[in-house]
Symmetry: C2
Subunit: 309 residues, 2 copies
């Protein structure tokens, strides 16, 4: 497939999947808010998603009315307490009645507890579950994937290896056949006093030994060397990743969150996100996200789900 | 004075200082590169700086010829080894013959060793020396100051308090009478498992107790709450700093470097930097910086030097 280079292209690609293979099915925990239903309805109308809506039936009805959405187009499951909503929604996915697990108004704790449930959850063995932000940024010819800026706080090396592999899977589903992964730090040299640079060196070598697959990992990189070939040249860095990175593996949540939010607030961009590493894609948007951002996250989940089939 | 809200305005302000009070004097360690001399010459022609150039006389001559700069307009001190260049340049500042210490091609180690020299250096007691990046970003009505993204790697709380006070001094010299300081983390709640949030809480309280002065400190903030009033409102954060931050205190060099370089590479911006916390402003630009960036850093040093007089 051709590489998807912007989030607008991603949306077109999800529509193509819908048109050619039919929609994917979302299972939504606590679908009781008008903004959320608006995004789901847009995805349905665009032909790439349908949905099972789990939540308090009365509240879902009220939200649907507010959003001008006809619930007759959806499968509705009435549950009255949050833990049950999570379990009910996730079990639709683990039993293959749905393809994608999506958070509605349910508290994140209840949502994730259901996802980790041993009987009906989506955990794949000991694999680390991770978050990925992905961005179109004006002036760049490709999507940037940032992990983990939201879910794992201070991952150790083993977790970073999983995070990398999870993120590579997403990038590959977007048509980046062999993603270029820059492991970020504040500098581009290995410095024993800077733990992020040691993890970067180890991840690079794990990639060379086949422990992290389907990608080219290199690091440490300061951000400039990862995105600017000129900057890398000035510093004398020779690497297939220098200036061409698709994926940024960040040292920890502090650094990653600032980088991702810096893109959102300081650049012309479009941004969406997904939870990766489970047996199905997971959409976890926040109420503050725009309808467009929610729609793009659903499109990404549909694309990833199609790729993994 | 009126608040300087962009780096273009900063340049105008430095020119005004030059016109009204005469130029400030730079003392430059190893001024042997044409690009550097070009920036210094622009500052001289703009009327806000003159310079003592320290370095290998032959090499300075060659660089000046390449840049089309007439060395007759400068005081030139011939030194043949790097440590002597640093000592010679810094002692011009500590003996008050110059106002600003500036790095040329000298290795950073030699430059800083001279700055820390007990007899002729610029250290003020035990105060932490820190770096500050400052940025004009399209769409924002004020300059953003980020510290410390380049010099201190993993500062402890005491160092962060010094870094904050150093940065507040710079912002005040730019006419921000009472800078709003956001101590950044990945979240806006105090979380015992996230050290950056604990430092943020402590710095906020140090400010309330008068241990950090002339500013309003608040934190932790995730970046979005610090720059967007709407985002802060969505999260229910009530603070005079929310959405209005001038200064960002970052958890450590990894996070700060990514934030600052993210601005440089992903937004429409102008960026410069200074070393703060010594007895005089210190300009430490890199060869890769544009002439404009070097000129802006000199203008900032001139502005700070004038304010501290």
């Amino acid at each position: 497939m051709e590489q998807i280079r912007s989030l607008s292209q991603l949306l077109d690609y999800a529509k193509k999947i819908g048109a050619e293979k039919g929609p994917k099915k979302l299972s939504v925990a606590m679908a009781e808010e008008a903004g959320l239903l608006t995004a789901i309805e847009e995805a349905r109308k665009a032909g790439f998603a349908e949905a099972i809506l789990v939540g308090n039936g009365d509240k879902m009805k009220a939200a649907a009315e507010q959003a001008g959405v006809d619930l007759a187009n959806y499968e509705v499951i009435d549950e009255r307490d949050e833990p049950s909503m999570g379990i009910s929604a996730v079990s639709q996915v683990s039993s293959k009645k749905a393809d994608i697990y999506m958070k509605g108004q349910i508290h994140t704790n209840n949502f994730l507890r259901a996802m980790l449930n041993k009987e009906v959850g989506l955990r794949k063995g000991k694999n680390t579950i991770s978050h990925c932000y992905f961005h179109s940024v004006e002036g760049y010819d490709r999507i940037f994937f940032i992990a983990d800026a939201a879910f794992n706080m201070y991952p150790d090396l083993a977790a970073k290896a999983d995070i990398t592999q999870n993120t590579v899977g997403l990038a590959r589903s977007f048509g980046v056949a062999e993603p270029k992964v820059a492991v970020l730090a504040a500098v581009e040299v290995v410095n024993p006093d800077m733990p992020a640079t040691l993890d970067a060196a180890a991840l690079t070598q794990m990639n060379r030994r086949g422990q992290i697959k389907n990608c080219i990992v290199d690091g440490p990189f300061a951000l400039d060397n990862a995105v600017s070939e000129e900057s890398a040249k000035t510093k004398g860095i020779v690497s297939p990743v220098a200036g061409k990175a698709d994926i940024f593996i960040v040292p920890n949540i502090d650094a990653g969150n600032m980088l991702a939010k810096g893109i959102v607030y300081f650049s012309k961009n479009e941004t969406a996100g997904l939870i990766l590493g489970a047996s199905a894609p997971i959409v976890l948007t926040s109420r503050a996200d725009s309808t467009r951002a929610k729609l793009l996250s659903i499109a990404a989940a549909v694309t990833l789900s199609d790729f993994n089939k």
